[in-house]
């Protein structure tokens, strides 16, 4: 119990405390000029302690104080009905559904391509360069085009965002799975050969199980960038719902607190998704008898 506190919790708390201290310093430093301006315009002279106090209570600060963000998060998650457009839970759900759809499609696409590449020499030669090239195009450049093109053929809403997530997430899956499916030792493949095993048998009994650690490592990366893809997909259209839309409307109206709250929500969501995949990873490997 004490060692759990000392080894796991204490270091985390230390880092958080350090971040909070630095954050507060920056809140004062960045917001003070505006406070001084305001005071000067109103013709009042204010003391340093008053300045500091006011930097923590701005309506549209350059950098909001942590307690302001917490208050905004509390207000928009707990105090609003989840169906309300002002609820952050509602927006998070919109983004999450696109993330999960894109992640699902990216995973299926990635695994399918990897299987093709591993089993077919022609596919290996012809496909792999394209897979790599696809990731050299910046997503910010291609996202608006995907949205516009799909909109023009009548596809809108969740699907275009999910496709951007797919575009981002299939890549780590392909790369990881190609490596994983090729990971079995030649000795184990020779063994399959001596049994005169079919390709399907070699795949299901050897390549697939051998690739599991690689798959889950890729899935962790893929789920995180799926979320990024969904948020990026919400930016160019000026979407009305989703965490991306909250970021965008926040920056239109200078609502920095709203922006930061949405950012924190996105970060929390990413952490949650990655840990769910991580948990599945541990469970699967445990069932496969991996040495603890």
């Amino acid at each position: 119990m004490t060692s759990l506190f000392r080894d796991r919790i204490l270091p985390v708390l230390t880092v958080i405390a350090a971040i909070l201290v630095i954050w507060h310093v920056f809140v004062i430093y960045l917001n003070a000029p505006f406070v001084r301006d305001q005071a000067a315009r109103a013709g009042e002279t204010i003391s340093l302690s008053q300045i500091i106090e006011r930097t923590f209570a701005q309506e549209r600060p350059i950098l909001p104080a942590p307690h302001q963000i917490v208050a905004e998060l509390w207000d928009t998650t707990i105090n609003k009905a989840v169906t309300s457009k002002r609820s952050l839970v509602y927006h998070a759900w919109i983004t999450l559904s696109a993330t999960l759809a894109g992640f699902g499609m990216g995973t299926v696409l990635g695994i399918t391509l990897a299987i093709g590449i591993v089993h077919n020499r022609a596919m290996d030669r012809s496909l792999m360069p394209w897979v790599i090239a696809s990731q050299t195009i910046p997503i910010l450049a291609i996202a608006p085009m995907i949205i516009v093109v799909l909109n023009s053929i009548g596809i809108s809403g969740l699907m275009p965002k999910a496709l951007i997530s797919t575009y981002l997430s299939f890549f780590p899956i392909v790369v990881g799975m190609v490596k994983g499916l090729r990971s079995p030792d030649t000795l184990l493949i020779d063994l399959m050969h001596t049994y005169n095993a079919s390709r399907a048998q070699t795949f299901w009994k050897l390549r697939w199980p051998a690739s599991m650690p690689y798959l889950f490592t890729s899935l962790k990366v893929a789920i995180a960038i799926s979320l990024v893809g969904a948020i990026v997909g919400e930016l160019p259209t000026g979407a009305v719902a989703g965490l991306g839309a909250r970021l965008l409307s926040g920056s239109y109206y200078g609502q920095t607190i709203q922006i930061w709250a949405a950012l924190f929500m996105a970060a929390g969501l990413a952490a949650l998704l990655v840990s769910i995949v991580g948990y599945a990873h541990v469970r699967v490997l445990k069932r496969m008898g991996v040495k603890p």
Partner: protein, 262 residues
């Protein structure tokens, strides 16, 4: 024509690997006839082509000259007929399968029924003295136990020919003695044909009815020694003059092969 009892029959067999820096003659002019029920040991310095020869028998490597027949068939047809079980130098167990699942692997692939699989796995575990370890994963077993599991796996589908590539190479003397004894008993009981690669002269003499001495560069057979020891072999047969004489002949053969290099 082969006599029907020939299991492996190689005539002027050669295999040359084409590598980046020129051809490597792994095997040249190998003539060998292995009869049903023989226990044949292959002995020789590193790189003389012992593994390569087993791999040619197993159709994991294609010979480039001469001919070879397994049970009167090409190696490929013999493999398709699942004529042999192969034990590699490393245990090569699947880490995510329990020991019993590992032993059942060839049975699954060859389409044995569930009941028969279970029964054979039990039988094999018993044979290699691993009863009670079926539910363990490979990493939970010692190296010797893992090697026994891999032998059980090779035996599970009851092929008549067993190819073993230094199966006990990494084990200590005591475990090795024990496994040698068990292997001999098994061979005696089942009348299988065994091809066994080893670096140890006593091991080769103790186990074999026929010892094939090989030498490298190019890999070839320099001597084939028929053992005069009886089928029944207690461990202390290794102290008898007859045993020592055969061991001496093997040692001479190995030396003769070596002098070629100097």
């Amino acid at each position: 024509m082969n006599s029907p009892a020939s299991v492996v029959s190689a005539k002027n067999l050669g295999l040359t690997f084409e590598t980046g820096d020129g051809p490597v003659h792994a095997l040249t002019g190998v003539d060998l006839d292995i009869k049903k029920g023989d226990f044949v040991s292959f002995i020789g310095p590193s790189g003389c082509g012992k593994t390569t020869f087993l791999r040619v028998i197993a159709d994991l490597e294609k010979h480039t000259s001469g001919s070879i027949e397994i049970n009167g068939m090409t190696p490929e047809n013999a493999r398709l007929a699942r004529a042999y079980g192969y034990v590699f130098q490393a245990a090569a167990l699947y880490p995510w399968r329990t020991i019993e699942k590992n032993i059942a692997l060839p049975l699954e692939i060859m389409g044995f029924g569930a009941a028969e699989q279970k029964q054979r796995v039990e039988q094999m575990l018993d044979l290699v003295n691993l009863s009670g370890f079926g539910k363990k994963f490979p990493w939970q077993l010692s190296g010797g136990m893992q090697q026994r599991a891999s032998i059980a796996r090779a035996l599970a589908f009851d092929a008549d020919l067993l190819l073993m590539d230094e199966p006990f190479g990494a084990l200590d003397e005591i475990v090795r003695d024990h496994l040698n004894e068990q292997l001999l008993k098994l061979w005696d009981k089942t009348n299988k044909t065994i091809c066994f690669v080893t670096h140890s002269i006593p091991e080769a003499v103790y186990l074999s009815t026929k010892i094939v001495v090989m030498s490298p560069r190019p890999g070839r057979v320099t001597d084939v020694i028929e053992s005069t020891l009886p089928r029944e072999r207690p461990l202390d047969i290794r102290e008898t003059p007859e045993f020592l004489e055969i061991a001496h002949r093997v040692r001479q053969g190995l030396k003769a092969g070596h002098s070629y290099e100097e």
